[in-house]
Amino acid sequence: MNSIDLSTTIGSLKLKNPVLLASGTVGYGNEIAQLTDISKLGGIVTKSLSLKPRNGNPPQRIVETPSGMLNAIGLANVGVEEFVKEKIPFLKELDTAIICNIAASSIEEYVECVKILTCIETINAFEINVSCPNVKEGGLIFGNDLSSVARITEQVRAVTNKPIIIKLSPNVPNISEFASVVKNEGGDAVSAINTLVGSSFDIYTRKPKIKNITGGLSGPAIKPIAIAKVLEIKRNVDIPIIGIGGIMNWKDAAEFMIVGASAVQVGTANFINPNTGNEIVDGLIEFCDRQRIQKLTELIGSYKI
């Protein structure tokens, strides 16, 4: 079984396997490391960073929904300076790829963050979050606008040689046009999808169940949408895709790869079973073994339509 090659690449980023843990579901690695073996994963994507620390939204921030959850955390994070000082030393010791997710309220802020962080050796790639639905400034204002995504990609590209992954919003009718813009402006890959805008109300109080009124829907509920979005990109744009959306087990991961994902990110599942990523790696190995697949990358885009 050891002869199976699980490695995959995202542009110039080499991963030992395609299983990544998604931003916002793994913190900065330290808590989840107590519950799972991070070194067995392809990589982790750290919690969205902004230039300055952000407190995040007031409670209630989350609510469970059928086969999913809504969150409006509001990009609570420690900021670039503390990240470098307090979080990098731990991340440095991990034998896995570290992808640093950046969220910002202006194009200048994205550029500034990447400029500061690009010299940190521990960071293997940047994932640019242009699609957070839960903050007033930035977030979806960028993610739903083609020219903003183009300018962010272009300007971030100008300040780093590290791989740039743009995390796309599913709250658009034409996600492949966004992927195309990323490719044209020098981005290395896209992550698809971020959460979908959703809401939930209490029928007795008639109030929204989360303070922000709307939040980002994640979990198994969104998987069919994510599969359709990844497929749309794959069929229209030649760019590596990291598939995200409701992945709970190895079968979900394999499905994303078949429709075109070069790697996948596990998100909400980490909240329930922090060992999901490791279990997916094991499951994929067994799957390849049973299917006589030598290289896992054979799965990528192998759909039959």
């Binding site: 519950l35 620390p53 407190n55 995040g56 409670p59 989350i62 955390i73 909400t268 329930i272 922090p274």
Partner: protein, 251 residues
């Protein structure tokens, strides 16, 4: 913090829609502290998706006890579990009550299901003097098993003092001129808020165990914020709490 598949050893109905379950969980039982909680997966499917947090009510050898009421879909499913069923438990989580330092008397203030963590705390405090105040809406909701020296308050007066548990507690402290005590409390937010106000005004040492909906239970989802009193943003109920000094957070 670990994940343990735990066999349900017994289930007991102890009040109106209230249950106590005993689970064999040797690893968690060994390291658990009073005031900590576990995040329990009540089904093997994606429904309900998230775990449910429950305070550790007691520990006996290799077994841990939880007390819960049927509140929604998750607790409904949990209440239907039978002896021999296996539950996936993540814990122990959170900080637990701080029992270090000098205090002669421990005062327990529990409201409704907030009684849950006190049997374990009483056990760990051992020979220390404990006075307990247990409140509930009515007599069928009073949870006083394994709580030492309980004085009862009910909103409707069907058992004990008619009124709330904070009034009962403050009357007692004045009457007995208590000194060198520490208050440990757990209960619904309005009760904790009243107790917080009372203890801050009187400069009493008071710890409050708060409740919040959460997803992960160990600090990564950032879903359970509580505002810090000092204006420095939020703390997380799951990781920085669930027990806080009454002075440190805004309820």
């Amino acid at each position: 913090m670990l994940i343990e598949k735990s066999v349900l050893e017994s289930k007991r109905q102890i009040g109106e829609k209230i249950f106590q379950i005993k689970l064999r969980s040797p690893k968690i039982a060994t390291v658990a502290k009073p005031g900590q909680f576990c995040n329990i997966k009540v089904s093997e499917s994606d429904f309900p998706l998230l775990r449910r947090p429950f305070s550790i009510s007691n520990v006996d050898g290799d077994s841990i006890f939880f007390v819960f009421d049927i509140h929604g879909e998750g607790t409904e499913i949990l209440s239907q579990k039978e002896k021999g069923n296996v539950l996936d438990i993540l814990g122990p989580l959170g900080n637990g009550f701080d029992i270090s330092g000098d205090f002669t008397t421990a005062i327990f203030a529990a409201g409704g299901l907030g009684s849950a963590p006190f049997p374990f705390l009483a056990k760990v405090l051992g020979n220390k003097e404990i006075i307990s105040f247990v409140g509930a809406r009515n007599s069928s909701l009073v949870l006083q098993d394994d709580i030492p020296n309980p004085q009862i308050a009910t909103d409707d007066g069907t058992l004990g003092y008619k009124g709330n548990v904070v009034e009962l507690l403050s009357n007692y402290i004045v009457k007995h001129n208590l000194k060198e005590f520490r208050i440990f409390s757990c209960g619904p937010n309005p009760m904790l808020k009243a107790l917080q106000k009372y203890s801050i005004e009187n400069n009493f040492d008071c710890q409050i165990s708060v409740e919040c909906a959460m997803a992960c239970g160990f600090g990564i989802c950032q879903g359970c914020p509580i505002e810090a009193s000092n204006g420095d943003g939020y703390r997380l109920v799951c990781k920085d709490g669930p027990v806080f000094n009454a002075k440190d957070v805004k309820l």
